[in-house]
């Protein structure tokens, strides 16, 4: 140990605060726990927007929403305006654009009654997307509530499992078609038909999740400490389920659109000009050479809508999983 190795602190020119100094013991301060500030929803959006692709898809989603809800309000759409004009029917985009002039209405050509396919598609999507959202909302709310009770109570479990086994065996198409036949095939009938048993599978899924989480050690500990069941459900289990629920919603919403398309195709859809009904009516055009475009444009729009909804939901589901926030 020589004289050179020792450095005089005052030579470094550091300020008083940057140097070690003696701190008195403080009882109050020592009780504080320091942790980084954590806000759940802020972290969800931070993780969500970290992926650049999500911004693009979200923008696409906004465009779709604008077209489905704002576009039909600002335009004046009459599907039978060109009914008597035989030269306006079944036109390809190029022919329609040259006939009617360059406007956004005709970029997808015209359909069987001379209507603009582009306008028809967005009017149809408004019905289909609204229906999908409403059905998903009803099914998710009922499904989650019932599923939570189902998962918690063993008595309810016995009864509901039997109900699930029985109703699961009744062909879904039968339920829907009978309801469609009893009532008229309108919008709310369709919603009713899709929700009357639709919540059951969601409830079953939630029930399984609840059972998995319910018996984890921390919940056992919480129960031993005397936390009431409702509090356990709200504070210990529900936050855990957020990502599961968001992911589920991501698959549910597009599935109603697909299902509506399917039902329309087999002739049990609703009477409104939804996307499904458009596709169903354009099926003949699909088989006619030169007219296929009429079939593919609503199909393509339906596909884009469902893919966007699905991807947004999946990525939101990923982001809402707290394990990705680290």
């Amino acid at each position: 140990m020589t004289e050179r190795n020792l450095i005089d602190v005052s030579d470094l020119g550091l300020r008083e605060q940057e140097l070690f100094s003696h701190v008195d013991h403080n009882d109050l301060e020592s009780e504080k726990i320091t942790a980084p500030r954590y806000s759940y929803w802020k972290s969800v959006f931070r993780v969500f927007f970290k992926k650049r692709i999500n911004i693009v898809i979200l923008a696409l989603f906004a465009v779709i929403l604008a077209f489905t809800y704002i576009y039909p309000m600002v335009i004046d759409y009459d599907p039978f305006k060109n009914l008597m004009d035989s030269s306006a029917k079944h036109l390809l985009p190029s022919a329609a654009l040259s006939k009617f002039g360059n406007s956004i209405h005709w970029i997808l050509g015209s359909g069987a009654s001379g209507q603009s396919t582009f306008d028809a598609v967005w009017f149809g999507s408004r019905i289909s997307i609204t229906m999908a959202f409403i059905c998903a909302l009803i099914n998710m709310v009922i499904g989650i509530l019932v599923g939570a009770v189902w998962g918690f109570s063993k008595k309810v479990d016995i009864v509901m499992t039997e109900v699930y086994n029985i109703i699961g065996n009744v062909p879904y198409i039968l339920f829907i078609s009978v309801l469609v036949l009893i009532f008229s095939a309108g919008f709310w009938t369709m919603v009713f038909a899709l929700t009357i048993t639709g919540w059951l599978s969601i409830a079953y899924f939630i029930r399984t999740q609840v059972i998995i989480i319910r018996d984890r050690e921390y919940n056992l500990a919480s129960r031993c400490l005397g936390t009431p069941i409702l509090r356990i459900a709200m504070k210990n289990i529900l936050p855990f389920m957020t990502s599961v629920i968001v992911t589920l919603a991501a698959t549910e919403i597009p599935s109603y659109i697909s299902y509506e398309v399917f039902l329309s195709y087999i002739g049990m859809g609703m009477s409104d000009m939804s996307l499904g009904r458009l596709i169903y009516q354009a099926e003949n055009a699909m088989l006619t050479p030169g007219w296929q475009f009429e079939f593919w444009s609503p199909v393509a729009v339906a596909s884009i809508i469902t893919v966007v909804l699905y991807v947004v939901g999946q990525n939101l589901g990923d982001a809402s999983d707290p394990r990705t926030h680290m």
Partner: protein, 522 residues
Amino acid sequence: MIKYLVKRVLHGLVSVIIVVAIVMILIYSCLDRQLVFAADPVYTQLGNNQKTVYQYRKWEDFGYIDYVPYTEWLQGLVADGELAAEKATELAAFGRKAEDDPEEVAAYVARFTEYYQSQGYQVMRLDAKLSKKKVAPGGQQQLFAYKDKPLLGRLWNYMTGLISVDNIHYVKEDIGERKLTFTLHDPMYGENTFAPAIIGNGTRHKYLLYTDNKFPFIHQNLVSINLGKSYTVNSGVDVFESMNAPQGSYVASVITYPTGLTESSADDLHSATYSAGSKDASLVTRERFTDDYTAVTTVKGGLSQVGYSFVIGIIAVFISYLLGVPLGIIMARKKDKLIDKIGTIYIVFIIAVPSLAYIFLFKAIGYNLGLPTTFNMDSNDWKMFALPIISLALPSVASLMKWLRRYMIDQMNSDYVKFARSGGLSERKIFSRHILKNAIIPLVHGIPGTVLGALVGAIITERVYVVPGAGNLLTKAINMYDNGVIVGVTLFYAMLSVISIILGDLLMAMVDPRISFTSKAR
């Protein structure tokens, strides 16, 4: 284990019965009966009382009500020997109005009314509709009784009639000695060919057991399943039969009829059933048959509805497992690499895009590749199976990939994998020997379901490619209000789903010894 299995099967049967009851309530009670006539040209042509009677008669055909006209009741009395036939004809002529009835007729009408009302029937008497002193078209007077079929009675009749065993007391008429004969030499093939058969006299089918050169070589007519008669889809034929009867064009071969007449015909003599007095009804049957077992079906070249659906479905299932399992493994192994991303895009495509859309896409691609896009039963071109199979297999490949990848990735972080890795096992071995075995267990549960599901057929695929399969039976029946078919098909579906869940559980327990159903779970 056996006890558990029996319990599961019983549970399954109970739920099947409840399902059938629910469906019966739905279609017989909830549906508007008037809808049956929506596309009925006869109904719109008829007028006045005839229309009403037609309506009730049709409702009886569709299984809604029991319907007894007055004349039928009189015929019943004749059959019982209470009335003479001429007397019945006389009594059948009831008046245009109740006041016009002759005294004797009025007595019988009163008896008819009283008898059926005591049984819970409604008796309806429609007075003649007159126009200018004459009976208006279709306005003849009518008298009948009707009653809604009660749910429990309907359910009981349906369930008890589900399986019928042929017996020698089936034939009501005098038929000589009622017996079953066992022969080693089926008379249809001549005396020298060894072909065991059981031939009945007095039974519904002539051949109760016989052999031929078609799979499964031994066939029986002893036990038959009756899922319900069809009225509009395939008139008068049982659902089970219409699902299983061969389709396509006739295949003629040289056959020898019981009288010894030999000719080229498509008749299937083994299917002969009894039809009273049919032998002497025409020269054609007299020349060929020696008894009244003359109702034969014909040999056809195609498969049955279920047959086509199953062939397409089962090949699709094989392909999807052959492709889906390795692809799922590769995706899990190369997680976040290019191949995983491509696979994920494909999975998203299949999940998100409406199935109708990608089936048409496959069709368009297949058309450009020169594959046949429509199905033709009479052609032997095996290429026509390609597109339906692809359309069914590719989506299920996606779902297999999705789940296998998920399960394998979940397993990848478990302790046993870390242990195996620290023990120096190669990644390949870890994946194939350890992770896969654990990850595949939930998928094994679904295998019986997919195999049996192939029997049901696919709705959109079969419609798009015009496959004569069983997939559209239910939708067709619903569109045509064929209640018998709806109930029958529902029962069939429910049975399959109950069986496949039980088989799935068994298979899972076989693959994974940790799963046990005997001890109480949790």
